[in-house]
Symmetry: C2
Subunit: 446 residues, 2 copies
């Protein structure tokens, strides 16, 4: 019951700012972003102090070193947050943009204008810098936001939100536009997900289990991606050096993220040359290779890949998001088989082809049904900042609203605006023969 | 069990066409549309014959005259369908449109290209012409569609889909891209709504109960509008003639539709002049007026509105979609109260202001949070065809993906396309010192 009351109070406060936000000047939004950046530096020591509480708690709970690293804030990471705020400040304001406007034969001017989504609930895990990223994008796009971070970063997140609120007060920006779920009670989230009259969209960021739980329990529309099973296809007409570098970068540079590749799909005519070479570098980097029959034969006893971790792949390996130094390998007869493989096993996140052949490159771009499709580049670029969107609110692998990294534009939606000068449907107005009564104001006796 | 098997077979067939559709030439899509138009005329008698079966069944079941009228097909209505097909044929193909493309500092070219949503399930009632409207929009936007019409029009819908399939075969268009639920078993819909791996989006069109049932039972994202509680605000600086005509048109011209107004909001300084006049015309048209205290005082014993149906409004009247010759009236002190009223009681569908004041007009456009916001025109124009979109798949009052009438563009979604020449994240490629091994193909012993 308490959770319900708390959830409603958060959502109501956020909702109460929506109308004010919709007509807020860009100036004020930019000021809040820069003021927050300034305060982050001024309060650096306090932030690190609060963060240490989270780290101590996490250590007590025996969290992994990797998680502790993601939690930790230091000078460098605080400076990165400052940079995000400055980047978002410098981006154009998407709100009020008239995407297009046209005149109908009856003279009506009909147009589409970008407006904020309204109230956004973001549910995320671990890294406290997501707090700043999400808040800055919402501030700039005039959305109210309810931030629900992981319980393991509650102290860090609280002080970051306090700083945003202090900046808001100083700049005349509605303080309640950024709400913080200051509770680790899971019931609060359950209650928030019921408030479809107060919250317009939910964006979960985190592991697949978190996202599935949100999607299944929410009455509010959810924009999400469950997982990133990204694929790289090496065509027989690939440039060997590009192929090796991209296959290496997309798997090895940071294997724990959703835009790293999990499947390497190789054309049979280049497999005998390409696979031992990439196998050699994968071996050096400690990558385990799970191979179909042909690639297993090529790699198993090859001098370049002896001592490498090479094992036969099972069907289910191709569906899996390893998030680790593991790759599943498949040899195909042609590009159509590659595209079918990606359609079947991929998660429609990011997929790339390496080829010098123009027609096959364009075929891949057109036919692969994913949020981001690449020719001759690493899938690791699927990221709001790398794409030039400034920051990202999340990545969508849904088919509606937005696909791929969601930046400012994706946090708005066009509404129709119509300028008339008295247009009537089918020209049906007040009956003409009665006009004398219409203008006879004496008869009104007022 | 049978319903489940049938639902899956429909969805699988539709899904199987998705890849082919994604790269289909505009020419072929246009040919199918024109061929269908041709066949509609050729088979006119057969269509009317099938429609008579539906009408006979409906009459037996004692359906209302209004419903029978919505069901009936005649020469004129078949010609309207032919016109829709020709209109959609003449619209530009949205698929493949590059909305924008930019170059990143590392040389990556990142762009956004419109692609189809995939498989769309549309669930609708009564009018058989929706079958042609929905199918033509999906064909042109390269979406596969599953059509679930009302059981009362199953014979009419079946022959219309048969005609589309005949046209598809003749033009080399994938026949299974337009699937028809040839069953009145409600279980089939229940099963379809579970298939989130095969169907990408559901669009329900019909009464609020139908839409709520779909939204609550669907695992697939739903784009919808529950109801149309549209509002008209007459400002104190309104032009009296425009105000009277628009208030008349928006209520009287066709009261049974979602974009007709249900609430009339009037500034206190114009109420004494405006209300008796519009009351006079409403009385003539048989409109019942449900009034707040002030408007009741003005209208009750006024000579222009004697014998009119004037009763005091209850709070719940302002929330109601009457879909009838009934209007709820509210007098306000200023434009802010009007906007607050609309925010509270409206359904974010279509709302209009009548004013000659520029600043108040722009304030209304910016601050009213609805799918379509008007100055000085009737809300009855919220319609795909009237807005110049050719036709509409439905109207959305959701806050994500699309707001207002959904035409061709709204049946697509941008995906990211990325053209590289070997770009690597953080420039991490295969280790340089090993290059000699990389190019030593002899060592590969292949």
């Amino acid at each position: 019951m308490e959770a319900k009351i708390y959830a409603e109070s958060l959502a109501k406060k956020a909702k109460s700012t929506v109308r004010k936000l919709s007509s807020l000047k860009t100036d004020i939004k930019n000021k809040v972003l820069l003021k927050t950046a300034e305060l982050l530096i001024a309060y650096k020591d306090k932030i690190i102090e609060e963060n240490k509480k989270d780290l101590a708690d996490a250590e007590k709970k025996g969290y992994s070193k990797a998680l502790l690293d993601r939690l930790a804030l230091d000078d460098k990471r605080i400076n990165q947050m400052v940079q995000v705020l400055k980047d978002v400040e410098s981006l154009p304001d998407p709100v009020g943009e008239i995407i297009s406007m046209w005149t109908r034969p009856n003279g009506l001017k009909v147009g589409q204008m970008r407006v904020p989504l309204g109230v956004i609930l973001i549910i995320y895990e671990a890294r406290p810098n997501v707090t700043i990223e999400a808040a800055s994008l919402c501030i700039k796009s005039s959305n109210a936001v309810i931030l629900k971070g992981g319980s393991e970063t509650i102290n860090s997140n609280r002080i970051l939100v306090d700083i945003i609120k202090e900046a808001s007060r100083e700049c005349g920006f509605p303080e309640d536009a950024v709400m913080f779920v200051d509770s680790t009670d899971k019931e609060v989230v359950t209650e928030l997900l019921k408030l479809d009259n107060l919250i317009d969209v939910v964006i979960p960021r985190g592991g697949e289990n978190l996202i599935r739980a949100v999607a299944e329990n929410s009455r509010i529309p959810v924009i999400k991606h469950y997982k990133g099973v990204c694929n790289l296809y090496i065509d027989d007409e690939a440039d060997m050096e590009k192929a090796l570098n991209i296959a290496y970068n997309a798997k090895v540079q940071r294997p724990s993220v959703c835009n790293a590749i999990e499947n390497l799909v190789v054309h049979k005519d280049i497999a005998k040359e390409f696979l031992p070479k990439i196998g050699y570098y994968y071996k050096k980097a400690g990558v385990e290779m799970r191979c179909d029959e042909i690639s297993y034969q090529i790699l198993k006893d090859h001098p370049l890949t002896n001592d490498a971790k090479i094992i036969p792949a099972k069907e289910e390996d191709y569906y899996e998001e390893f998030l680790d130094l593991i790759i599943a390998i498949k040899v195909v007869n042609n590009i159509d088989e590659a595209i079918e493989f990606i359609e079947k096993y991929g998660s429609h996140h990011s997929d790339a082809i390496v080829t010098e052949n123009y027609t096959k490159g364009m075929k891949f771009i057109n036919e692969v049904d994913s949020a981001a499709v690449y020719i001759n580049a690493s899938t690791r670029f699927t990221d709001g900042n790398e794409f030039g969107l400034g920051a990202e609110m999340g990545i969508s692998t849904d088919k509606i609203h937005a696909r791929g990294p969601m930046g400012l534009k994706e946090l708005t939606i066009p509404k129709f605006i119509v300028f008339g000068n008295g247009q009537l449907r089918e020209n049906v107005g007040i009956p003409k023969e009665e006009e004398e009564i219409n203008i006879d104001t004496e008869a009104c006796k007022l």
